[in-house]
């Protein structure tokens, strides 16, 4: 039963899965709200909220990036149908994270915010990641997908890789000294992007093997 469900869920099963996933994605926010209400966020609750929202943005991003490899490994194509909701949740948590910064940290002091964006790399790259998320969220509907056309839409949505890299860099650059936790995110991201590159290489069309210039380029890019 379970096997059949995971292999290819019916419409109703998929709807149930989506509802469950929706609630699951909301859970971190509900937990945060619960802890805030019960004064259980420690001495610096605003910092705790900002951190938790940022962390969940990053975690959801990494979860999204596991879907396509997971589909490939298991052959369960329906997994792709969960990506839109997860993607919108990434955007949702990113907005909340950004809002805590703009409001609870800077109290809409635009001068200070502008200074931060220009002077502090971790803010710069965090803002860039958010800016890159906006078009992806804006083009998430079926109608937009049609309007752009599958290929262009897909190209646009590949910026999620850049966003994830920026997100991890944003985290890395803000910690004072102990980079253990950002290192874990960086390692996971490296694996997720690495398998894509590896598959691309293994599945490259045969004709690509002949011209040496292209191969050289792809090699040097891989080194970088």
């Amino acid at each position: 039963m379970v096997w059949r469900l995971s292999c290819n869920p019916t419409r109703r099963q998929l709807a149930a899965i989506k509802i469950a996933l929706f609630l699951l994605c909301l859970a971190p926010l509900l937990l945060l709200g619960w802890n805030a209400w019960n004064d259980a966020l420690g001495a610096n609750p605003i910092e705790a909220i900002t951190r938790a929202l940022g962390t969940w943005t990053l975690r959801l991003l990494l979860i999204i990036l596991t879907i396509s490899p997971l589909r490939k490994l298991t052959g369960r194509h329906w997994l792709l149908r969960l990506r839109r909701m997860l993607g919108l949740f990434v955007f949702f948590y990113a907005i909340l994270h950004l809002t805590t910064y703009l409001w609870l940290d800077k109290f809409f002091d635009w001068q200070a915010i502008a200074n931060d964006i220009f002077k502090r790399p971790f803010i710069t790259i965090g803002m860039a990641a958010f800016a890159l998320l906006v078009p992806l969220a804006a083009t998430s509907s079926n109608a937009m997908m049609k309007r752009l056309g599958g290929k262009r839409w897909q190209q646009l949505h590949r910026t999620v890789y850049v966003i994830a890299i920026f997100g991890v860099a944003h985290y890395w650059w803000l910690v004072k000294l102990d980079v253990t936790s950002p290192l874990i995110y960086a390692a996971l991201l490296t694996i997720l992007l690495g398998v894509r590159l590896l598959w691309r290489y293994l599945e490259r069309p045969q004709k690509w093997q002949e011209p040496s210039s292209i191969r050289c380029r792809s090699k040097t890019m891989a080194k970088q």
Binding site: N35, N38, D39, A40, G42, A43, N44, I46, E47, L104, D105, F107, A112, N115, D116, K119, R120, P121, F122, W173, L174, K176, L177, D178, T180
Partner: protein, 312 residues
């Protein structure tokens, strides 16, 4: 016949009034965060009792002290982990007795003092100071201690002594963070001799009327209120008077980000974040950070003619 007196309880086992009155907060904290975090401050307060005969100081701020709960649960003490909840969770392993503080280097009378003698070296004063962390948050803490100058004068510094180096304990068995690298242990901090002799600079052995909780740097720590918090070394075992500027732990860990002076300065940003404002723990709105953490009238003259952007 044996008649048991109801007063057979040792005074040190009686829950202090302060703790008793805060029992609801402890229980709430226990429910929210998990028991281990609150057992320590509670039991230490009970076991150690209070210091008698402390005096108030005119150098104290009139600002409202940060809650005891927050002062003792939100700490940077990397010897016990890098998360600010770690020290309260893990510092119970620290053994604060016996504890010897040695004062040595360029002094006429070097000495090694046991902690219980150190506490009696001078009358304990309550010093309510602002504490500004380099990370952008601040507290108001009622320390108990005495001027570092009292100790330094008792060892008679030689003319060649220009700086004071403070070495914290680094016991890999009781301080798990020491095994994780990152900082070149032991934690070392330093002051110029005139900064160390300044009346605001104290050795603290307690807070909120009680012996220092382990997570706050028991049994003895430095407090230099006009500098970022990391300058105030915790759990100090050695004080050395030296001729040259000491290489401090943070200067070694991130030379481009931390300088020797590290005076609180809203004009000089940390390379990665602004120092113009701070969040006072317990407050919603942020405050403007003050030059020398609000102690400019007392310490600015120490830096007359110095470019504070260069000597950050």
């Amino acid at each position: 016949m044996l008649i048991r007196h109801s007063s057979d309880v040792v005074p040190s086992e009686i829950t202090s009034r302060r703790v008793f009155e805060r029992r609801r907060e402890f229980l709430q904290a226990a429910v929210g965060i998990g028991l281990s975090e609150v057992v320590y401050p509670l039991s230490s307060a009970i076991a150690a009792g209070k210091f008698p005969d402390t005096t108030k100081s005119s150098l104290s701020t009139l600002e409202k002290p940060t809650l005891f709960k927050d002062v003792t649960s939100y700490n940077n003490f990397y010897e016990f982990g890098t998360d600010k909840a770690d020290p309260a969770l893990h510092a119970n392993t620290l053994k604060t007795r016996p504890w010897i503080l040695s004062v040595e280097g360029l002094v006429k009378r070097p000495k090694a003092i046991a902690i219980d003698d150190l506490i009696k070296l001078a009358p304990l004063e309550e010093r309510i100071y602002r504490m500004r962390c380099v990370e952008g948050w601040s507290m108001v803490i009622p320390w108990l201690g005495f001027p570092l100058a009292t100790l330094l004068k008792s060892v008679e510094p030689l003319g060649a002594a220009k700086y004071v180096e403070f070495v914290s304990a680094a016991d890999p068995k009781t301080m798990p963070g020491v095994n994780r690298g990152m900082i070149d242990w032991p934690y070392v901090e330093g002051l110029r001799l005139d900064e160390a002799l300044h009346p605001l600079t104290i050795l603290s052995v307690g807070l909120y009327g009680e012996p220092l909780p382990n997570q706050n740097g028991a049994p003895v720590r430095l407090v230099v209120p006009w500098k970022y918090g990391f300058k105030s070394g915790k759990s100090i075992v050695k004080i050395r008077l030296v001729e040259h500027e000491p290489k401090t732990a943070w200067m070694k860990a991130a030379p481009s980000e931390y300088g020797f002076y590290s005076n609180v300065n809203p004009e000089v940003d940390h390379p990665r974040w602004s120092q113009a404002t701070e969040r006072r723990i317990g407050e919603f709105f942020k405050r403007k950070t003050l030059a020398f953490n609000g102690y400019a009238d007392k310490v600015a003259r120490l830096y007359a003619g110095m470019d504070l952007k260069k000597f950050y």
